[in-house]
């Protein structure tokens, strides 16, 4: 099995498709690509400089006193140092810092500019619904977030069974997702790009593999994409894909998965209507090449411990290839 792991994981290890590979900053809070992340990263660097200066002063003094061993100073001076160093300076510095922190505290709780995306944490994937302003029914997707640049998007968060946490470090802070309790957070991307989000609250065996791609797009592109996402699936027409569709139906995949426009309307697993167009597979587990699809279908449990989707390793390899062709074709 080791051999298998290393082959797929090289592809999957890049966390997604070619778009994302090699970019080490895609999950970094310190390379901000969103309004909130930028404020938070500034806050961090200011505090970092302050912390380094204070650390050096305090430990420098300590080192000086214990190593250089100057002559004893008068008691009065020492008392004064406790008052100044221990009480006055920290009270003022921290008071100022606190006032700054409090003034930006509610920022991520602001309401969005219109679009609401409802994300529900499942074991271990993300159910995603787009609710444009005034929409009556959602546009359903899974395991990927797309949002327009320059617009504050509101995320309505929930969870199915256990607590998860929704976090796209490059755009802003995280927010926990609870079963039976709604939480909200809003994010505003400032630059187009594909970022990586990940569950931040320990949620069981495959917590490590609960991730997603978040793509910030120019507003026009986003609108077009959303229109397409709302449409039903177009059945791929290559012979492989047609054969794959038959296997999909034969194996009962539709009991769990929905492919809109077909009679597969399962609600247990992620919606697959446009799965072929996503950046990643298995909630950020693998990239989205044909090989990745085949690897996922045949080795789910190994790639993602205790995952609910059974592995179809018992099917012949050829059928994995055909299924991959069908799914990748669901653009």
């Amino acid at each position: 099995m080791r051999g298998f792991r290393h082959t797929v994981t090289l592809a999957g290890g890049l966390v997604g498709s070619g778009l994302m590979s090699g970019c080490t900053g895609q999950q970094s809070a310190l390379i901000p690509r969103g309004e909130d992340a930028a404020v938070q990263s500034t806050l961090f660097f200011v505090m970092l400089v302050g912390a380094v200066v204070l650390w050096l002063m305090l430990n420098g003094l300590f080192f000086y006193l214990t190593r250089v061993r100057p002559g004893a100073v008068p008691q009065r001076l020492a008392n004064g140092m406790i008052i100044i160093g221990g009480l006055v300076v920290p009270a003022v510095l921290i008071g100022a810092l606190l006032a700054w922190g409090l003034s930006i505290l509610p920022d991520q709780q602001r309401s969005g500019d219109g679009l609401t995306i409802r994300v529900t944490g499942e074991q271990w994937w993300w159910r995603v619904e787009y609710w444009p302003e005034g929409a009556e029914a959602p546009i359903v997707s899974a395991n990927e977030i797309r949002m327009p640049v320059g617009e504050r998007v509101e995320f309505a968060l929930g969870a199915k069974r256990v607590i998860h946490s929704f976090w796209i470090p490059a755009l802003g802070g995280k927010m926990d997702m609870f079963p039976g309790r709604d939480t909200r957070v809003s994010l505003k991307a400032t630059e187009p790009g594909v970022y990586r989000g990940q569950c931040a609250e320990f949620c069981g065996a495959s917590h490590a593999w609960m991730a997603f791609a978040a793509e910030a797009m120019p507003p026009a592109d986003f609108a077009a994409w959303l229109d397409h996402e709302a449409s039903a699936a177009v059945a791929p027409s290559t012979p492989d894909a047609v054969a794959g569709a038959e296997i999909f139906a034969r194996e009962g995949c539709g009991a769990c998965h929905t492919v809109r426009g077909t009679d597969h309307i399962g609600q247990v697993g992620p919606d697959l209507t446009h799965v072929g167009a996503r950046h990643t597979l298995g909630a950020g587990r693998l990239g989205a090449t044909l090989e990745d699809f085949a690897a996922w279908i045949s080795h789910t449990d190994e790639l993602k411990p205790e995952v609910e989707m059974p592995a179809y390793g018992h099917l012949p390899e050829e059928e994995h290839r055909l299924l991959a062709a069908y799914l990748k074709g669901l653009q």
């Binding site: 992340a37 921290i94 609870f178 490590a208 205790e306």
Partner: protein
């Protein structure tokens, strides 16, 4: 004349007719009078005989603080090493991206147990262990007031600890992380969560026992003259931390109670589908969890407060500032808990309050550090090995403190929360604030505890290995956390910039391990060839350095009269007088173990307290208490109930045989012309204080359960639910009447007994349990029709009823105990400690009864 129409006699047991007699404080003349040599020898022989340690297999029956303290420390240290090995396996798994050294499930068991063991089996117990070991030394007390309670606590800790940590070795460990968030933890299918809950509840009980012991020890067992303004800073810290344990642990115990009811009987306290709320657990856990960080930190900084003056060779500067900082931290640390919940979607303004308190707590901590700096400034610094560890700890802790300031800024925490930044931060605070100072304490106090010195050379090697290893392991974790790496992931994909950092951490973690190996070897290596050490190797000024070399088990040859903070520096004659038995209690005429009890503020001598000796009972009681907690893990209840009953019987036997019997002589000679009583009841006795303190903790736990009720009201629009049946109001009212009557009968019994109307008191003690049983039965009947597994509302009602009924049961046992004591002549009008303590219990219980019945009978009507 029948008893009833006699005039009411005056109260027999008044504290002041047992007042000490003679001269206090002693005059210089009395102190300088030499003790004849033959008397000295005879006294020393008797003392030695009274304090002799049991040998052979009976060694485990020892209860003396010097024995139990060493066992406790070594056990906690062993658990720390095991949890450290778990950390190494975790690091190995994370050395490379997509590593498959261990499975996800195994990894989750390991990180859960690493955190749980480090916190519950090492960090808190090592405080108790060290305090039990050295506190009597600081106070020149012969022992702590309740040695058997220490022993019982130790055995509970050992049994509970082994069962918890052992679960990982049989692949049945808990997997939900050391803070066990539901629903993940409640839904867990194995027995891991149960082991965690019951095992740790068991250990929490042991912690509270230790807290009671240490608080009473600090308040009542100081040497004569050691007023609160001159007691060693360590004692101040112990007092503060003991108080914090009393308010911090009970919410978790209450949480565990609700959690286990959900696990065992499916009462949905944390299940959102039936009105429960997983966030409640987070509140209860962190109301415990954040003070706990300071419970761990303060005793360690207390060690630094003892080492620093010795290094500076002068008294601490800013004694009052340090006391302020300890007390202030103790308070403020209870206003921080929500900073662990900044990302749970609470209103920003709520987060703001906790952000503010989290920043405020920095100030007392800073004052503490600056007081140390000031002491070093005015002193003639003589750096020794313990100081090296303190210095390393300071460097690490200040870094951890500064990242703490960052994390308390909620907007930054939104990013850093649950990432490796937090992992780095918490290890910085715990290594710097706890591990390093504790190791410094081991080097510093080793000569006191074991009469040997540890190796200077090995100590330096261990220091540099751990110091360098620690920083290389954990400093980069701040960085990788901000690069987006969440904590508690069993593996990670490559290419996100995390790979090198993780490999580096893994390599360096083995340097830490090597350092601990050197340290552990230094501690356990045989030292028989080492020459006899000097009595005060570091030149300290406090009383622990009056210890005897070679070792004597009596604690102190005589209990000195103290007038300064550093008696060894200020009173050159102290040691000679102490050794010659010039001071108090130089003798053990009856060859029994005794120590002196003094007053709380000024440490005026109050009485001679009998101290219990070796016994099997604490060990047996712990074994059966263990059964009561461990059997339910496997969902077998009859043996659990049987075990609990046996444990209770043993504890009753232990109390009956050893406590509060009328003494042979009311007054005894305590030395230096002072005669002291041998018996005390009420606030002068240590037992009364222990009851008071225990009940304060118990009341906190009860308040947490009541908090749960009101919490559900705020978190849900439909609570109490309109369509749900309520507890039967009439029966709730009847319960109030019954339990109120039981309380009144108990109070009357105490009053009548004190006025020598023994028959009437016994009659009241027969009425009381009957009324209590009736009240408890009515309360059970009032909720019997509810089905607690359908919704959280009936569940919380039943939980409150269980709480009161169990406490009423304990109260009944106490009433019957007093009745038996009265009949057996153990309790007399003059010697009524038992009934006074029981009355105190019932006062607290009455409050719980009234609150519970108000919630059950009235609140639903008002709140709907």
């Amino acid at each position: 004349m029948s008893e009833d129409d006699r005039p009411i006699p005056r109260k027999v047991s008044q504290a002041d007719d047992l007042a000490p007699e003679g001269v206090y404080p002693p005059t210089e003349e009395m102190l300088s009078e030499p003790v004849p040599a033959d008397l000295q020898k005879a006294q020393a022989d008797r003392l030695r005989k009274a304090w002799v340690a049991p040998t052979g297999i009976r060694y485990v029956t020892a209860v003396n603080n010097s024995e139990v303290g060493v066992w406790y420390s070594m056990t906690a240290f062993a658990f720390m090493l095991i949890a450290g090995v778990m950390a190494l396996i975790i690091r190995l798994q994370l050395a490379f991206p997509e590593n498959d050294l261990i499975s996800a499930d195994r990894f989750n068991q390991l990180f859960t147990m690493h955190g749980s063991a480090m916190m519950f089996l090492f960090a808190v117990p090592i405080f108790e262990a060290i305090a039990i070991l050295i506190l009597p030394g600081f106070l020149s007390a012969r022992d702590l007031p309740f040695p058997r309670l220490s022993a019982y606590g130790y055995w509970c800790f050992l049994i509970g600890g082994i069962s918890v940590i052992g679960s990982v070795f049989v692949d049945a460990g808990p997997t939900a992380g050391w803070f066990m968030y539901p629903p993940l933890a409640t839904q867990d299918e194995g027995i891991g969560s149960d082991i965690w809950l019951l095992g740790l509840s068991f250990i929490e009980v042991a912690s509270i026992a230790a807290a009671v012991e240490l608080i009473v020890g600090t308040l009542k067992c100081r040497p004569p003259g050691m007023r609160v303004n001159i007691m060693p800073l360590y004692a101040w810290y112990v007092l503060v931390v003991g108080g914090m344990i009393l308010f911090a642990f009970p919410p978790l115990i209450a949480g565990d109670f609700l959690f286990e009811l959900e696990r065992s009987f499916d009462w949905p306290f944390f299940d959102p589908t039936r009105g429960g709320d997983p966030l409640l657990w987070q509140h209860l856990f962190w109301i415990f969890g954040h003070p706990e960080v300071y419970i761990v930190f303060l005793p360690s900084i207390a060690i630094a407060a003892m080492v620093v003056p010795t290094v500076a060779q002068r008294p601490i500067v800013g004694y009052s500032w340090i006391v302020l900082s300890a007390v202030g931290t103790g308070f403020l640390s209870f206003g921080l808990w929500v900073h662990h919940m900044f990302t749970t979607g609470l209103p920003s303004i709520s987060l703001g309050f906790f952000s503010a308190a989290s920043e405020a707590v920095v100030i007392p901590t800073g004052i503490q550090l600056f007081a140390f700096l000031a002491t070093l400034m005015v002193g003639r610094v003589r750096v020794n090995l313990p100081m090296l560890w303190i210095a390393g700890g300071l460097a690490i802790f200040t870094a951890g403190g500064l990242t703490g300031v960052m994390l308390a800024m909620a907007p930054f925490d939104f990013q850093a929360h649950d990432s490796y930044f937090v992992v780095a931060h918490l290890h910085y605070t715990l290594f710097g604030g706890m591990v390093f100072p504790v190791i410094a304490g081991v080097y510093y106090f080793f000569p006191f505890a074991r009469k040997k010195l540890l190796s200077e050379r090995l100590g330096r090697i261990a220091f540099w290995l751990i110091f360098v290893g620690f920083n290389v392991t954990f400093l980069p974790m701040h960085w990788v956390g901000l690069l987006g790496m969440p904590r508690r992931i069993y593996t990670f994909p490559g290419g996100l910039g995390w790979d090198t950092v993780n490999l580096m951490s893994t390599i360096a973690s083995f340097l830490i391990a090597a350092g601990f190996a050197v340290f552990a070897w230094d501690v356990i290596r045989p030292k028989t060839r080492q020459p006899q050490i000097p009595r005060n190797p570091w030149g300290g000024g406090t009383l622990e350095w009056t210890h005897d070399v070679p070792e004597e088990l009596w604690g102190t040859r005589s209990i000195p009269y103290v007038t300064s903070r550093y008696p060894l520096w200020d009173d050159p004659k102290l040691l000679e007088r102490l050794d010659s038995g010039r001071y108090y209690l130089p003798d053990a005429e009856t060859v029994r173990r005794e120590t002196m009890v003094t007053s709380v503020i000024d440490a005026k001598p109050l009485l001679i307290q009998k101290v219990t000796g070796p016994s099997w009972l604490p060990l047996l009681a712990a074994v059966f208490t263990g059964g009561a907690f461990i059997f339910p893990t496997f969902h077998v209840y009859p043996p659990a109930i049987a075990s609990g009953a046996v444990a209770l019987a043993i504890i009753i036997l232990w109390l009956w045989r050893e406590t509060s019997w009328p003494p042979e002589h009311e007054m005894r000679d305590a030395g230096l012309g002072l005669r002291l009583p041998n018996y005390a009841a009420g606030p002068n006795s240590v037992g009364w204080w222990a009851m008071w303190i225990t009940m304060l903790g118990d009341a906190t736990a009860f308040a947490s359960v009541v908090f749960a009720f009101f919490y559900y009201w705020t978190s849900s629009a439909d609570f109490p639910p309109v369509a749900m049946p309520d507890p039967d109001r009439a029966l709730v009212g009847l319960a109030v009447v019954g339990l109120l009557l039981a309380w009144a009968a108990t109070v009357s019994a105490a009053w009548l007994n004190a006025r020598a109307r023994v028959t009437a008191a016994r009659a009241a003690l027969i009425v009381a349990p009957v009324a209590a049983a009736g009240g408890a039965a009515a309360l059970v009947l009032s909720v019997i029709g509810l089905s607690p597994s359908t919704h959280v509302y009936p569940a919380v009602m039943c939980a409150l009823a269980i709480w009161v009924v169990v406490h009423a049961g304990v109260g009944i046992v106490m009433q019957l105990y007093c009745l038996a004591a009265s009949v057996a002549g153990k309790m007399t009008p003059r010697h009524d400690a038992d009934i006074q303590n029981v009355t105190l219990y019932w006062h607290f219980h009455l409050i719980a009864v009234l609150v519970t019945c108000a919630v059950m009978g009235l609140a639903p009507g008002v709140m709907r």
